[in-house]
Assembly symmetry: C2
DNA sequence: ATGTTTCGTGCAACCGGTTGCAGAACTTCC
DNA sequence: GGAAGTTCTGCAACCGGTTGCACGAAACAT
């Protein structure tokens, strides 16, 4: 069994409170005593029990990070950045995957609530109402969704969409399809709003679609039926699936149709043709979200929510080309 | 502030112990009382604090899952399977990424130890000695590494390597390179042992290499220098990188050189050419690992470690072909 | 009617820490 | 030499639950 504070206290001949202070308020204990306690603790392999500590202090020094799908390559860089950034501040991050299921998401948040000081919600699928209710029990930072009263990190995908469309227009495209994502997605709506406001193009919005390779594959027929010369997809996975689906039908990218994705995930960089895509600042988002969350945690009840918007940019690769004659 | 057990007790006019039993041993409390307590609890939004509960029961109902790199597409399917499987058994899984850093790995395990009932260690990079020390504080199940005295889930990559080599031999290849992985990797050693035992081929072992796309890219020159006609890579990421590196040098796959990967990750299925690969039973491994871990957790001190080996198989796609004339 | 079970609940100690308060020992100051 | 501070440590209550034990009431057996 692991050593407890009482074992250390007994072995070093002091009261438990002295041991406790040795770790949580060292300046309050005499240097000599402190060293003795530390030596004994080291010897016994004692490590303060964080869960027990949390019971009295109300601080677990853990953060929760909830994502819809770890297998979506968009998330891991964000997760890694958040974890690394949190570690620097002596916080640990627990990641949980909701499997795109709102009910699982809610359950996970409930469970995490008491075991973490705050939760990072990435592209949540829950309704605003539920999120607001859960928010009463634990501080949140929401990534890629706009929720009033909560700290938020947004990636400026509207700007990215404009860049992508400008690129396509410059190549001569006019009839363009937007392959949208899941129904509740803020990102998807944001892209659609931005795209509709672009003058001089004839936009067809197709969707909602599953934000996966399979979703893109399934959308290929609809894209061809729409009679467009270029497509902006909700994300790279869909773009890759779409290219696949088009190839099955003998349609070449970018020869006959141009495709732009969003996210700049690794598989998109490896695909043939390499995807032109809107790069998302995922690492920065992870770090920023942790910063905002720790700010909230530190401030307690008096916290004021903050909003950060991060820039996106276009990476031109091989999946876009001039409009066919 | 969230409601506590005392709030519920007071509001429903019973002692806290009755409330406690209502949740953790319902059969011990009168149906009428129970319903009243449940109603009040519902009303107050009370949820038992798992951390506090763990303090007395010694059971957190959480599991830890430690991986070297979430961004490696090999892991997410395993993680998702483990999470889903654990949820069925009323357990939650906390995932942590070590960033391939043994020191971070050790620190994470230490932190998790008190907050989970057991830890799933996937392809750990720590030394045996350290793992054994940490094992004294919390039950482990190790995936893809052989450690005596601990429950283990292995994927039979040796068999997979033999299948891959047999496939290459059948295509006429004799001079074959094995692109090995990280130095401490059990999988890598296992593959090498299996490959060396295959008769009738001339094997060149190259490595160790970083188990990433970049590692494969960097190995391209060495592969060409080795004068082989086929390569078995440690994993798909490396295989993809290698194909990339070969393309840069004007070498075609599979026309001039055949490449086999391991893992059957999604990017490998999407790459051009589509990768021939050894499929790993990642979902099964995740589920099995959770089962073994819960078995250990349930058994307490008396637990006997178990070893499960899961089969692998070869998927032939487009990156392998007959030896060039 | 009495003795024995069974059932339901309360009491209080406990899990492993933290922390406000009190007091002992030692300084410092006048 | 005594009052007033400092510095350090111990005491005990507390965080939010769980659980062995005791006890009263009701149900059952004789």
């Amino acid at each position: 069994m692991a050593a407890t504070i009482r074992d250390v206290a007994q072995a070093s001949g002091v009261h438990v409170s002295t041991v406790s202070r040795t770790f949580s308020a060292p300046h309050l204990v005499n240097a000599e005593t402190r060293n003795r306690v530390l030596a004994v603790a080291e010897d016994l392999g004692y490590r303060p029990n964080r869960a027990a500590r949390a019971l009295t202090t109300g601080r677990t020094h853990n953060l929760g990070l909830i994502v819809a799908d770890i297998a979506n390559p968009f998330f891991p860089p964000l997760i890694k950045a958040a974890q690394a950034h949190a570690r620097l501040r002596d916080y640990h991050v627990f990641v949980a995957d909701t499997d795109e299921d709102p009910q699982v998401e809610e359950e996970l948040i409930q469970t995490l609530t008491k075991q973490v000081d705050g939760v990072l919600l990435c592209s949540p699928r829950l309704s605003n109402r539920v999120i607001e209710r859960l928010h009463q029990d634990v501080p949140f930072v929401v990534v890629n969704r706009r929720l009033k009263g909560m700290s938020t990190v947004l990636m400026d995908v509207g700007h990215g969409a404009r860049l992508a469309l400008a690129h396509l227009v410059a190549l001569g495209h006019r009839r363009i399809a937007l392959l949208s994502g899941p129904a509740g997605s803020w990102t998807s709506r944001e892209m659609a709003d931005a795209a509709r406001a672009v003058p001089g193009i004839e936009l067809t919005v197709l969707g909602p679609n599953s934000p996966t390779e399979h979703g893109g594959l399934a959308a290929a027929a609809g894209v061809l039926a729409a009679g467009v010369t270029a497509v902006l997809a909700y994300n790279d996975l869909m773009a890759i699936g779409l290219v696949e689906g088009l190839a099955e039908r003998g349609v070449e990218v970018p020869g006959e149709l141009s495709v732009v994705g969003v996210d700049d995930i690794v598989p998109g960089r490896l695909a043939r043709p390499k995807l032109t895509t809107v790069a998302m600042p995922t690492e920065a988002a992870g770090r920023t979200a942790v910063d905002l969350l720790l700010q909230l945690v530190g401030a307690g009840e008096t916290a004021t929510p903050a909003l950060t918007t991060l820039a996106t940019h276009l990476i031109i690769r091989e999946s876009t080309g001039p409009v066919p004659p």
